[in-house]
Each structure stands twice: as structure tokens, then as C-alpha cells.
Point group: C2
């Protein structure tokens, strides 16, 4: 029902890359794009979004590039997903950050679907709002066996 978008995957990949980079060493778009196999122009849009929302800053010209604006452990998956994919809630009427009435819903308080998916939304947020980019960076890396 609910695949996350390619855009979100790219955004997370890029942020993890930025978090792994030595502090104050800006990464340029082209490098991130090449190394992580992200279409460059698409990545530009994504990083711009993340910048506008205050996750990143950038410097132009030679020696420029993108840098995280906050420590990686202060950037949650939930925040990133909300920026690139919009609300996390599976129904508009369950979004905290962007509530909207379901178009055809007459009686929200009695909507069974809403009540069930409220639990889903809670469970999802519990994970996404507590997991940070730093957690991702710290994940164990299994050796890739050479063949």
C-alpha cells in the first residue's frame, strides 16, 4: 500500500553520505550523485528541498558543496520523509502536521478505518521520529564477501 518514494530513498542516502563525510568538508552534488548512483539533476532538487527546510546548508563555487546543518543525531527519518514525501499518516485526517478531512468522510469520529489506521500511524511515527541519520550511520556493516 505504502511504498516510500524513490525520492525519499535518495534523500536518505544523500544525508547518510553527508553525515559520514568529515566535518566541514562539503560534498558536491556530482560526487554524491556518482558515488550513490542518484540522477544528478534529481538530487539537486532533493538537496534544495532539504536545504530550504533547514537540514542542510550549501556553499557555491570552488570548494563548495553541501554540509549538514545539524548533528546527524538531531535529524530524524520522520523529518526527512515529511519533507520529501509529505505527511507520514496513511490518511489525511490522521496527519498531525498536515491534517485534512477525508474528502468523502461524513462522520470522522465514527470512521472505523480512521480508528484502525490511527494505530498504524502511531506505530510508524514511533519508529520514524525516534530513528536518526546517526543511527543509520552507526549501523553494523557486514563484510561483503568477495567471490
Amino acid at each position: 500500500m505504502a511504498m516510500i518514494s524513490q525520492k525519499a530513498k535518495y534523500a536518505l542516502r544523500a544525508l547518510i553520505a553527508l553525515a559520514r563525510a568529515p566535518q566541514s568538508e562539503p560534498l558536491v552534488i556530482s560526487d554524491i550523485a556518482r558515488v550513490h548512483r542518484i540522477p544528478k539533476k534529481f538530487l539537486e532538487q532533493i538537496l534544495l528541498d532539504l536545504k530550504r527546510q533547514g537540514l542542510l546548508t550549501s556553499k557555491r563555487g570552488k570548494g563548495g558543496g553541501y554540509v549538514l546543518l545539524r548533528p546527524a543525531d538531531k535529524i530524524t527519518y520522520g523529518e526527512v520523509l515529511r519533507i520529501v514525501d509529505g505527511p507520514i499518516a496513511p490518511l489525511p485526517c490522521l496527519s498531525i502536521t498536515a491534517y485534512r478531512k477525508c474528502a468523502d468522510c461524513l462522520d470522522e469520529t465514527n470512521c472505523e478505518t480512521r480508528q484502525v489506521f490511527a494505530h498504524v500511524a502511531d506505530a510508524t511515527r514511533k519508529v520514524l521520529d525516534q530513528t536518526t541519520i546517526a543511527d543509520a550511520v552507526a549501523m553494523p556493516r557486514h563484510e561483503l564477501l568477495a567471490s
Copy 2:
């Protein structure tokens, strides 16, 4: 990121309606569609899908209609969503019922995104695979205050 589809809402609404109907009294598509404000032709497709997957049975001709094939407490939200919206997992590589490698993923075991969203998928499934149509039917109905 992950709204459930209109189709899923319709499917759930219809199933709840069928679960509320007195046993062995088939409901006809037109009635369900009218009462629950679902486009009739669209509902036909949905009910056919649900029938093909064994949730419903139907009888043609006069006095016909649709009937639940199993007690409502044996039909989970997860099952319904998988039928109408496809896999529940937020990444193809996390689907139990329909695993597929992510197109651009080189090293699945080390994919940070995968590891994080595995938790999301677990949490979601824990809700959806344990909640049944019967739970929905039993939900408390608040009085709608007349104005």
C-alpha cells in the same frame, strides 16, 4: 509518504457493510454503492478482486448479491490491503508476501534504509494483521449530535 488508496477505503467500507448484514442475506452492489457513496462500477471491480481472493462469494440473478465467505473476525485488515493495494511493506525488499530486490540496491544486508524500515514494516503488520473486520464492526459508535 504512504496514503492508503481510495480503493482500499472502499473495500474496507464494503466489507464492514457486509459484515453488518444479517447472515446469508446477500447485499447487492447497487445498494452498497448507494448507501456508502462508492462509485458502482469501481465497487464491482473491488468486490470481484475480493471474491477472487476468497473473501467473498456471490450469487447471480434475482435475490443475488455478495456475502462474506468467512466470519468477520477471520478477515484481517492486512489481508484486505494486500489484495487491493498490494504489499504492505514500505520497500519491495521488505515484503514477506511479495519480495523483490530494490532496483538499485547493491548490498541489501548493509542497506541502512532497509534496516530502519524493517522496524516500520513490523510495527505496521503488527496492527494490520491483528485487526479484523469484526473489530471494526464492534467499534463504539458515538452519537452524532443533531444540530
